[in-house]
Amino acid sequence: MDDRGDDKNSSTPRQLQAGVTLANRYAIQEVIGIGGMGSVYRARDMHFPSVTKLVAVKEMINSAPDPLVRQTIVQNFEREANLLATLSHASIPRINDYFTIDSRSYLVLDFIHGKDMEAIINETNGFLPEDQVLGWAIELCDVLDYLHKHKPDPIIFRDMKPSNVMINQKGDVILVDFGIAKTFQTGVKGTMIGTEGYSPPEQYRGEATPSADIYAMGATIHHALTRRDPRIEPPFSFAERPLRRINQAVSSELEAVVNTALEYNPDDRFRTAADMKQALMGVAKKTGALVRMKVPTSPMTQPGAIKPLWSFKCEDEIRGTPAIFQGVLYVGSYDNNLYALSAPDGKFQWKYPSDGGIVSKPALFEGNIYFGSEDKRLHVVSARSGKVVWTYFTEAPIRSSPRIAEGHVFIGSDDAHIHAVNLTTGRLSWKFETADAVRSTPYVFNDLVYAGCESGDYYAVDFRGALKWRFHAKRAITSSTVGTDNTLFFTSVDSTLYALDPNSGWVLWRFRLGKASISTPCIVDDLVIVGAADGFIYAVDAKNSKEVWRYRTEHQVNGSPVVYKDSVYCGSVDGNMYSLEYRTGRLRWKFGAQAAITGSPLVYDDIVYFGSTDHRVYALLA
């Protein structure tokens, strides 16, 4: 089968080329846009040979097979061109000419030097200033008012949206696309009029009134101030995204005007565009010039308002994650010791010395604690007494954490193997060779052991140590795997959150993070929550891979989030432990340790336990 295929036509197969002269008058220079039914060109009007008069030429290719349909399209086009010629307003482009050649119709308009609002929104980092958007909105209401007052019949624009608003070099607003290039509507079932997202409910029923333009105006302002494109949200859902919740810099007066414009019932909106313009001018007077209140994003008023229940100081950094069992907290430190602390008060119970740093999260089983150390060994220590039961040697430091299942402890090592050690005997059952160091915690599910390694290879191995399937990411997989009944989730240093089929290793979906990640995701309801080196904590829908929310911290998020009741807890290299509502990503509180937090917290019985590179273990109320 020819892979290049026969469907690879370019989307505009018969575009005019630069240098061609159209209708013996317009010298085509460049394509400046591509619309649904043809291209838009910049051209030079050669009837003015001694100056450079630039025009925009909108082309409409009429490829309807039915001749009656084709004729109707041309008539519609000519009627609208004539209408445009009678309009006179600073925000409406002047039409210079129109004509039809064979199956193509052309509209020649003044060329506008500038950019459309959608491009400006996308190219601006952060939110646009309210004053700027307010100024645009006032001019737009003015031109809408002019159109609505047209005699004999009001002209309803019907397609107000940022991409149809040009901002020229003087900062003036120009409306473009008066529906001349709209696709022919057949008027039967499923007809769609206007642009999804900006159009009000009644417009879908074919009832377009001036009120529809007012709704679309509100939608446009909303998009401009929140950077949230209404076309990719469910329709009529603006109430779920209040302006000030997304952009705290917006004044409540402007929010009130936008909400009125976006009322579901047309009778509840502004009656005329002139009324809306008045309201907007009122906002401009009230907010005045530049008074901006910096609203803090955190509901917490002072730093350090949260006091830990207790904290315990070790002799070196704590980079890993604690475990808890029968009221005792076990945590490893870079001072080579595994500490056992009393969970309610942090009192020291015992410590067990290994010969290397411990970043491993301990696992508990039948009264024993299992953990790996950079001294190359898996240590098994009695939970009660802290005395060693047995140890197992690998050939290189262990930074992975153990997983206990099916009578074995599975652990990775920097010696590039997954080790399966028999719990009873302490002897190796099998080890599986990987391409590089295994620092992630093996995950066991349905007869298979899954683990990723530092080369980006990921393996599914059965209980005899035989490979079932393998997957390859472009960079290291240091994150451990979590899973549901039918999906595996993990991240990679290639900046991706992966969702894989556990049976075959096929990728169901991938989500692009801002930067590398070594954080292990956590799953709650249908949400996958994970951190990345870009400082964000992301929440992604497990079924459709869409981002639900993201929360920004001040530095990398290397540890893994943990969910407890309604909250998700996650530490950051910025030194803070964050507690967010897991459904919305809203901050509940944050607590600052003295230095980076790289491990994951443990939450048990309403208490959050975690370690920091400031050498301390903390316990806070959840």
Binding site: M1, D3, G5, D7, N9, S11, M37, S63, A64, T183, Q185, T186, V188, K189, G190, T191, M192, T195, E196, P201, Y204, R205, G206, I232, P234, P235, S237, Y264, S382, K387, V389, N422, T424, T425, R427, N446, D447, F463, R464, K468, W469, R470, F471, H472, D485, N486, T487, D501, N503, S504, G505, W506, V507, L508, W509, R510, D541, K543, N544, S545
Partner: protein, 302 residues
Amino acid sequence: MSKFFGWLFGKKQPPATQDHDVANTAPLTEEQIQAIVSNQNPRFDVQQLIASCGQSAGKQRDLNEDSVLALTTTMAGNSGNLPFGLYIVADGMGGHQFGEVASNAAIRSVAGFILKKFHPYLFQVKTDTMDESFQEVMLEAVREAQRTIQREAPGSGTTLTAALVLGQQVTIAHVGDSRAYFVFPDGRIEPITRDHSLVKRLEELGHITSEEAVNYPHRNVLYRALGQGELLDPDIFTVAFPQPGFLMICSDGLWGVVAEQDIVRSIVEAPNLQRACQNLVTAANTAGGPDNISVVLAQLVG
């Protein structure tokens, strides 16, 4: 020996005096390993995917503007034989024969794109999996279909509900008001897609009740369809194939005409999938057949 089994399965606590520092140890024998392995419920067994479809122009339309595709096969690979299925229903809109051009173009485009992507894996021996994810392939396929329709039938549109099945994973791409359902042998029926119809949206927002929705004027108006509008992102999601159960994809000529309980009965009481599809089409025609009827039914057995 029995002490080991008890200890391993954690059913009995070892006697209090047993000190873990001195354990009686021996490596597990092959039989012991076998016993552990066979004691689990095997989840990754080889399964078989079967499917059938039914179509009719209905009683009141001359033309069938629906298009349907049902393709079922097996992918041989390292991890065993995986069932592979592609099931699509597209309901064309607009008169002037544009509707059937649009729905047909949608099917050709989407199926062609997906099969080209999977061709090396289906018909050659590949040891690794595809770089792109299922959801990415589906999204690209739908975008390609959008371009095709705008080229071949400008001004028309179609719904599209497509399901890609590989093993137990079902990935759905959906635009419009055709529907995908999960049907269970115990009588439950659950739509897994949401209609992109104006009426459904108003219902979701609570502006009208579901009773009002049934007779709402213009209840066929869609706010999203393939071929229309410039920015198009279908709903795409991946879920597990219901087991036991059925995947059903159908146009509104079926779901809008036959009550859900009757749909379930027609499926669950039929001796096989072909019969079930015929029964569904007959049920819709008996109820008046006001629109084109299309249905695809799939099941994972084994």
